[in-house]
């Protein structure tokens, strides 16, 4: 799990699956992303083939907290079959989802 900066955007790149074994680390890392001074946050899931409902809860929680702090968290790169999971939980109704990090960066540059 790596956090880095690209222009005005802070990106958290997840490189592993998120299971019961590492969901606490994911929670801590997402909190670090939220605490970053940047207003524009990306959670990049392009290398993630598996995440559990605990991870979904953490993402939703941080997205709402970001809004409260006048920041915005978006998700990029959701892979199949995880895209089905995100449709079931209707995350697109309260946060933006992009195919790639580049699309999300373009979105933030226009806002």
């Amino acid at each position: 799990m790596q956090i880095y900066q690209r222009s005005r955007v802070t990106i958290l790149d997840i490189k592993s699956e998120i299971t019961i074994k590492n969901s606490d680390l994911f929670r801590t890392t997402m909190q670090r992303l939220l605490n970053h001074p940047s207003l524009h946050l990306i959670l990049n899931l392009e290398h993630v083939t598996y995440l559990n409902s605990s991870a979904l809860g953490i993402i939703a929680d941080i997205a709402i907290k970001a809004k409260e702090a006048e920041k915005e968290l978006v998700i990029t790169g959701i892979q199949s079959p995880m895209n089905e999971i995100f449709e079931v939980v209707k995350f697109d109704t309260f946060m933006k989802i992009f195919s790639t990090a580049e699309e999300a960066i373009d979105y933030f540059e226009q806002h």
Partner: protein, 130 residues
């Protein structure tokens, strides 16, 4: 037909159960996507029972698998009468918890609660190619 059962006491056991599901589904040549879905349903079902058992001071619960080339069945059995609310959520959930059951219902072909004399079972199955 292949049968396996396992006693789950720890988070490490849950991860091990996820691996059993993955290996069984791979052996039966289910698609990669179906393997991922069954592995996730296993984790969600086990996590649900794990948290219930911890809250009630129970030390373990059971998980059983039955596998054929066309069908995989997974049953999680816990003592007591607690139910799993198999209700589709109409509203969007922006909270930390409460998505596991909805995911299981979506990921598997069949999910049902079976009440036994002194226990409750969560039964789920998946057919190849469904």
């Amino acid at each position: 037909m292949k049968f396996i059962s396992k006693r789950i006491k720890t988070k490490e056991d849950i991860f091990s159960a996820m691996t059993v599901t993955e290996e069984l589904a791979n052996e039966q040549e289910f698609s990669i996507h179906d393997v991922i879905k069954m592995r996730l349903a296993t984790e969600e079902a086990c996590t649900n029972s794990y948290e219930y058992c911890r809250a009630k001071g129970m030390s373990y619960f059971l998980i059983k698998w039955s596998a054929t080339p066309s069908l995989i069945e997974i049953t999680v059995r816990q003592k007591g009468k607690a139910s799993f609310p198999l209700i589709e959520q109409a509203d969007v959930n922006t909270g930390l918890r409460g998505r596991g059951i909805a995911l299981m219902v979506h990921l598997m072909d069949k999910v049902e609660i079976r009440r036994r004399k002194n226990c409750v079972e969560l039964y789920m199955n998946k057919w190849k190619g469904e």
